[in-house]
């Protein structure tokens, strides 16, 4: 089932003024329910505008955005936009900078309370969200500011999950974390997507993450969607990636180099495990 549809969406900042700037042109995009989509593109390619449209923070200048049963266009009211937001949770970049409450539990419960839940309901949702993100229950009464960077980020993520969104948008969720923190957070989202049947949209510069986790990759350049497809379809052409200012995933670059030296890959590997399995097979079959 299609959860999200962009239908000929265009967006212009400050139209009719000297500062007019076109951010998106003719976006057509379908995202199925309960899938993992990665949106990639260089800085300024329109990724942020796209996710702000999804969250009802911006209204399309032309065309329409449908999320579930709600469709918004340029003449939609603010109430309609607000309805979009009930389905969508966004984890912004450096989300821990938005923590403010005295305790971890209060901070996480803030969102659901804002949506009209009672104190008790909100705290229950907060406790549940803490479990989901792997925060120990004993941390509930701590100040979020006493925690490590990785833990603070988990608190911020729990705050979004406590609002029970069907769609979870992640804007560079691992920026600034050390490698262990990055691995843990990415594994957490993959797990949540499966267990909670979420529709996950990951905005990222890390092509390795897009290749490893996404069902579908959306490539943006100059405010347009230039390609959508499975990671294997996207990451197989290094020249095309470079032309669109994207890094080539390390696994892709490595496999391509091996191809030049006589190795053959089918299917083209997206992870180190897939790569080395095919490499050792070719070395063994050649030796026999």
């Amino acid at each position: 089932m299609a959860e999200i549809e962009f239908n000929q969406v265009g967006f212009v900042y400050q139209p009719g003024t000297p500062f007019e700037a076109t951010a998106l042109t003719d976006i057509n995009l379908t995202i199925e329910s309960n899938t993992y989509t990665a949106i990639v593109g260089h800085t300024g390619s329109g990724k942020s505008t796209l996710i702000q449209l999804l969250d009802g923070l911006l209204k399309p200048t032309s065309g329409s955005v449908t999320v579930g049963k709600i469709t918004v266009g340029h003449d939609s009211s603010n109430q309609q936009l607000a309805k979009l937001r009930q389905h969508v949770g966004i984890v912004f970049q450096f989300p821990e900078s938005q923590l403010f409450e005295e305790t971890v539990l209060k901070d996480i419960a803030f969102g659901p309370k804002n949506l009209g839940k009672t104190n008790e309901e909100a705290e229950q949702l907060a406790n549940q969200a803490m479990r989901l993100v792997g925060l120990d229950a004993s941390l509930a009464s701590h100040s979020p500011f006493e925690l490590s960077g990785g833990q603070m980020r988990r608190v911020a993520i729990a705050g979004v999950l406590a609002m029970q969104p069907q769609i979870l948008i992640l804007d560079e969720p691992t920026a600034g974390l050390d490698p262990r923190g990055q691995r843990e957070i990415m594994e957490l989202f993959a797990q949540l997507q499966q267990q909670q049947q979420l529709t996950v949209i990951l905005v990222t510069h890390q092509m390795e993450d897009a290749a490893k986790y996404a069902d579908q990759v959306v490539v943006m350049n100059h405010g347009a969607v230039v390609k959508t497809g499975a990671p294997r379809e996207i990451f197989i052409e290094p020249k095309w990636l470079q032309a669109n200012h994207l890094m080539v995933p390390k696994t892709t670059a490595f496999a391509q180099a091996l191809q030049h030296h006589g190795f053959k890959f089918d299917p083209f590997p997206m992870t180190v495990a897939e790569l080395t399995a095919q490499v050792s097979q070719q070395l063994e079959s050649g030796a026999q």
Binding site: H42, T43, G44, S148, G149, G150, A175, G176, L177, D178, P179, R180, G181, H205, H245, M247, K250, A253, F254, A257, L258, H261, G262, F263, V272, A273, L275, T276, V279, S280, Q282, L283, E284, G286, A287
Partner: protein
């Protein structure tokens, strides 16, 4: 060998915290070297950088910069030798325009106006940002901001450049531009670079690596010596460079080389292996 930075048994603990943020650290940094200080978030890397810049009244030990012990009466003098670039350039901007911002440090040192204009222009040209001189820093991209921050630091002609996760907030393109630029600047000005990072590929570029965990120096050596210790790196919350990752994934099936393999060497080695089977 001249050590431009020499730390002897340095320890520090923050007043409100249990345990040492730095514990008995001793090491030397050779003049002109690029040294990567590697460890997970909260391992004490940034505290160490502060100690070297004389920003920390550490409890035990001594740090010498260019042979001089850091003390209260020479700290300003010593700090002149050191340029600091932080993770988030926004925390470093003070000027209304890019040029004003680069001029700020020079102004503080009472550099005469004509000389200052020349130096600012030079610095901006060096980082490829001269056409942005009149722009507001807030309107720049992350990578451009970090280049301006670098110009501000380099305009002061430091001998030592400390980079505190200076590329970690940038997108991959921005990161690569900054790293290339840093390599050039280092050559041109004979800088000693101390780069604090948890990016293992960045560490692989260094001459020497200091591996930090829980405020302790747990190992040091060349990239080849440190980066072949895959299990240990992972245990310390870090990553393994890609070539080594491939090597590790193959080691159950194949007799793999012991020495450090970057991606190119690993490709060459596998190619030879494939030819042998034919």
């Amino acid at each position: 060998m001249t050590a431009i930075i020499s730390a002897k048994s340095v320890s520090y603990h923050y007043p409100d915290e249990k345990g040492d943020a730095l514990h008995d650290l001793s090491f030397d940094v050779k003049q002109g070297d690029w040294v990567a200080v590697v460890g997970h978030n909260g391992s004490g890397k940034s505290t160490l950088a502060k100690a070297i810049d004389g920003l920390l009244d550490f409890n035990d030990g001594e740090i010498f910069i260019d042979g001089r012990l850091i003390q209260e009466d020479n700290i300003w003098d010593i700090r002149r030798k050191i340029g600091f670039v932080f993770q988030n350039p926004d925390n470093q901007f003070v000027g209304a325009t890019v040029a004003d911002d680069v001029a700020f440090g020079l102004e503080n040192r009472h550099v005469p106006r004509t000389e200052m204009i020349t130096k600012v222009n030079e610095a901006l040209t060096m980082v490829g940002m001269s056409e942005f001189a009149d722009r507001e820093p807030a309107t720049l991209s992350g990578g451009q901001k970090q280049r301006v921050a670098l110009a501000g630091v380099v305009a002061m002609r430091p001998e030592i450049l400390i980079l505190d996760e200076a590329t970690s907030m940038l997108d991959p393109e921005g990161r690569e531009t900054i790293l290339t630029l840093l390599k050039q600047l280092r050559q041109q000005y004979h800088l000693t670079v101390l780069a604090i990072t948890h990016d293992i590929d960045e560490a692989a570029m260094a001459d020497h690596i200091l591996l930090i965990d829980d405020g302790r120096l747990v190992d040091q050596g060349t990239p080849a010596e440190i980066l072949t210790q895959g299990d240990r790196l992972l245990e310390l919350g870090l990553d393994v460079p890609f070539g080594e990752k491939v090597k590790r994934a193959l080691q159950d099936e194949l007799q793999v080389p012991k020495e450090y393999m970057n991606s190119n060497r690993m490709v060459d080695w596998l190619w030879q292996k494939l030819n042998l089977t034919k």
